[in-house]
């Protein structure tokens, strides 16, 4: 039972100055085992903050990140599940399910985590799970005209089942939703 926090697109300090207070209250150290950040952390201080929440932090480079050493994409394995992360600015059209699906097939992952659109999405498409945690701070994005709601995702991984909790800040209150994804083993598949 591994709790993995998927979060990204902070844009601190350029577009927003800080995480919403309510989110900060939720993210107490000790409960989360791993953090996967989809990119655009933009700040060393924010990165340090992430490291205080959990010891194990995986970050990929977004288009506004200041750390050149971070990889553009990453694959993390949890038991039988392969999780792929990339920021998403490499994928055109932005946020398109088909294009992301191509990437997922290229990386050979079951779950693909991306960002960049600043909009929460969790789609199961062609047997693969695509999660976009949105923007943790609700920062401005050029791609969407409507208001950005701050959001992040917490995945509870147990073997082949992933229970996804989505935390969204709606009208100043934290709303939690739950989504379940189960990996299907295709026994006819030729390895």
């Amino acid at each position: 039972m591994v709790l993995v926090l998927v979060i990204g697109d902070f844009h601190i300090p350029y577009r927003v100055h800080d995480l919403p207070l309510k989110f900060k209250k939720l993210l107490v150290p000790g409960k989360i085992q791993q953090i996967i950040c989809t990119g655009n952390v933009c700040d060393k201080e924010t990165f340090d903050y992430l490291r205080t929440v959990a010891a194990d932090v995986h970050v990929v480079k977004g288009d506004y990140d200041e750390f050149p050493s971070w990889p553009l994409s990453k694959i993390i394995t949890h038991g039988p599940l392969r999780i792929g992360v990339l920021h998403g600015h490499q994928v055109i059209p932005v946020g398109d399910a088909e294009s992301l699906s191509i990437v997922a097939r290229q990386m050979d992952v079951d779950i693909l985590l991306t960002g960049h659109t600043h909009r929460f999405e969790a789609i199961e498409y062609e047997g693969k799970f695509f999660v976009n945690p949105g923007s943790a701070t609700g920062a401005y994005s050029g791609f969407s005209s409507e208001d950005i709601k701050p959001s992040f995702v917490l995945m509870d991984i147990q073997g082949v089942v992933v229970v996804t909790y989505v935390y969204q800040l709606v009208d100043g209150d934290v709303k939690v939703d739950k989504i379940e994804y189960r990996k299907n083993y295709d026994t006819n598949r030729v390895l």
Binding site: M1, L26, Y165
Partner: protein, 687 residues
């Protein structure tokens, strides 16, 4: 009574065959029998401890039902309390709950889960180190078909492919000759054998598992009824075993039993006692992909180690008793209990060792739980502070010179007896000795004292421990003494035990005569104020200084003779010689009440104001004694005389017992003596 005789007595009491003729065990007699030690024959000690602590009722007919009930209670605890909230979510996807992992509200399952984790980590750290010298705790729990905490025999069957049936026999019927005397030999050899075989099985299984995985995932955990599944091998094995019991009614395994170990796995990533972690377990990857939605864990077919069983017990205890939680030291107490239960020769007893240990442990803890509650440490009436003070008082009674010496050096009981008392001597002696000591300690439980929790013998034994190293203590310095007491030199407890027996005799004799000198009542408590271990080094002689007003003065005051300040808190006992040469100390309140009344009467007589019918004949004689002599100094000297003979202080030391002179018929002391006779025996006074 020689060993064989005692053995037969035990067997008579404990066997269930004569259940119709003698259904009930005489607990008093049984305790007395156990006090001298329980024979090492396998099976006896386990039953005896269960009876002594009240797990099994004295009525033998109820044993079977009680055991079943309690064991199923324990297993339901395991099922419920060890559950992961994440699995609960998965099992009930339709039930919408607002709970989420980051929930910090107190009624959230997740919040509770994380709070429990901190307790669990503490328990885990302690338990891994329980009795590190003994291999027993690092060995696996022998498989048993009777226990729902064992992995299914099927799983082992599957692994078992080509092995001979004899393996299964060794798995089930483990050493039945385990007794304390050969614990080191038998458990090590047989369990290491078992271990080697389990390891060999794993190697085999990795070859077998791939093709058979499709079969197993469907049938894996459905109890013995599914033995007729398309696997011929297990059936053969079972038919080949002439001694095997017929297939039991399905004892469904409890899936959550290992969940707590995963929760703390992160603590021991680098060094683990378990060489092969859950990832390399043979059943894992293929079996976890069941299509019908239930969760298969990797480690359902993994065997528990003994220390893991202990961890489970302690965790469940901590969850069920949030008031006391888990305190370091409980693992040490559980150690001998679990060790004894797990080495039962009775198949059923061994299978359910964990459940039985849990209840025996809970019962034992109910007596000593106050020692573990931090807030009671300085409490007057209970808690470890109180017990240590009690020990000190007892030491003062039995060995006053030693006591005085330790006081002088400021060597308070906290420095040495804390560990002795809280973990009941498990850290001072080797395990076999501890178990023998516990036979005596558990059987001397005093039912009358609810608050103190009994276990008086434990304190007697501690006093004996001190007295046996008396010489070294007297000649050593403070630091030497502390070092000595913290590494108790006498490793063979036989001598200390003998001394403890004699102390206990003394104590019981004293109790019989109502000389409760190490129980303080509220009068003395007001004297012993405030701080811990602020002992008055008072012996009886110092009590009656001229400065100390005595109750006699208060009477004089009331009668108007001498206005003297009184402290009502002083107390005194009347000692009296009966024909048996026993000393009686009356309880102070009774004495006070009666005494005041009688003394008033006497005073009345003395001052001639009242005429007492009873005393009329002697009036002239008493008045001639008293009237010309009523001066303050005289009264006090009167009292000092009576002090030595008739009235003494409450905390009387044994030395005072010999001071009493008999049959003093002259002077005021004689009068007081006869007066006390009146109080006691209610006879009319005649000269």
């Amino acid at each position: 009574m020689d060993y064989k005789e005692r053995l037969t007595q035990f067997e008579d009491i404990l066997n269930t065959k004569n259940i119709d003729t003698e259904p009930t065990i005489d607990l008093y007699k049984f305790r007395h029998l156990c006090f001298r030690g329980i024979p090492d024959k396998p099976g006896i000690r386990q039953l005896s401890w269960k009876i002594l602590l009240g797990y099994l009722p004295p009525d033998k007919r109820k044993w079977q039902s009680v055991l079943e009930e309690q064991r199923s209670t324990y297993y339901s605890f395991v099922r419920d309390l060890l559950a992961d909230p994440s699995e609960e979510e998965l099992k009930n996807p339709d039930v919408s709950s607002d709970d989420h992992p980051l929930n910090s509200s107190p009624n959230s399952k997740w919040a509770e889960y994380f709070a429990d984790n901190s307790i669990l980590e503490q328990i885990d750290k302690d338990v891994r180190r329980t009795l590190p010298d003994l291999a027993f705790f690092q060995l696996p729990v022998p498989h048993s078909p009777l226990s729902p905490l064992s992995p299914k025999l099927e799983a082992i069957n599957r692994m078992n492919g080509a092995r001979s049936p004899s393996l299964l026999e060794t798995l089930d019927i483990n050493d039945d000759s385990t007794s304390i005397s050969n614990y080191s030999d038998s458990t090590l050899t047989i369990h290491s054998e078992l271990d080697a075989e389990v390891a060999a099985l794993e190697a085999q299984l990795s070859i077998i598992s791939q093709p058979s995985s499709q079969f197993t995932s469907g049938n894996l955990y459905k109890g013995f009824s599914s033995m007729c599944s398309p696997k011929p091998i297990p059936l053969d094995l079972y038919s080949n075993r002439p001694s095997s019991p017929p297939p039991q009614p399905a004892v469904t395994p409890i899936p959550t039993r290992r969940s707590i170990f995963k929760r703390v796995q992160h603590l021991n990533k680098d060094f683990g006692v378990r060489g092969n972690s859950a990832n390399t377990r043979p059943c894992s990857p293929a079996s976890s992909c069941k299509s019908d939605g239930s969760i298969i864990r990797d480690d359902d077919c993994e065997v528990d180690l003994h220390w893991e069983a202990i961890e489970r017990i302690l965790f469940i205890y901590a969850k069920l008793n949030p008031g006391v939680g888990y305190v370091q030291g409980m693992n040490e107490i559980l150690g001998p209990i679990y060790y004894t239960m797990a080495n039962d020769s009775d198949e059923e007893g061994k299978a359910h060792a964990e459940a039985d240990s849990f209840f025996v442990f809970t019962l034992l803890m109910s007596f000593i739980r106050d020692h573990f509650v931090r807030s009671l440490d300085t409490d007057e009436a209970t808690g470890i502070g109180h017990t240590m003070k009690k020990l000190n008082r007892r030491l003062k009674t039995y060995a006053p010179d030693l006591w005085r010496d330790l006081e002088r050096k400021s060597l308070y009981p906290t420095y040495y007896s804390f560990r002795w008392i809280t973990v009941m001597l498990t850290q001072e002696f080797a395990l076999p000795d501890v178990i023998r000591l516990w036979d005596s300690i558990l059987s001397d439980r005093d039912d009358d004292f609810e608050s103190t929790g009994g276990f008086e013998f434990l304190l007697d034994f501690c006093c004996a421990m001190l007295m046996c190293v008396k010489d070294e203590l007297l000649t050593g310095s403070f630091s030497d003494n502390v070092k000595l007491l913290q590494n108790y030199p006498i490793q063979d407890p036989a001598t200390v035990l003998r001394k403890a027996y004699s102390l206990r005799e003394l104590r019981l004799l004293a109790k019989l005569n109502d000389e409760e000198d190490d129980e303080l009542d509220e009068y003395s408590l007001t004297n012993f104020k405030g701080e811990d271990f602020n002992y008055y080094s008072s012996s009886g002689n110092e009590y009656y200084d001229n400065n100390d007003p005595s109750p006699g003065d208060s009477i004089l005051e009331t009668s108007g003779c001498f206005p003297v300040e009184t402290t009502n808190t002083k107390f005194y006992n009347i000692r009296q010689r009966t024909s048996n040469n026993n000393h009686h100390l009356l309880r102070t309140q009774e004495v006070k009440v009666k005494g005041l009344a009688m003394l008033r009467k006497v005073q009345g007589v003395v001052s001639g104001r009242t005429s007492l019918n009873n005393f009329s004949t002697s009036r002239s004689s008493t008045t001639t004694y008293l009237r010309p002599n009523i001066t303050k100094s005289n009264i006090l000297s009167l009292q000092s005389k009576t002090t030595n003979n008739g009235l003494t202080s409450g905390l009387s030391l044994p030395t005072n017992y010999t001071n009493n002179k008999v049959n003093i018929t002259n002077g005021m002391s004689g009068f007081a003596n006869r007066l006390s006779n009146v109080w006691k025996k209610n006879i009319t006074y005649t000269t």
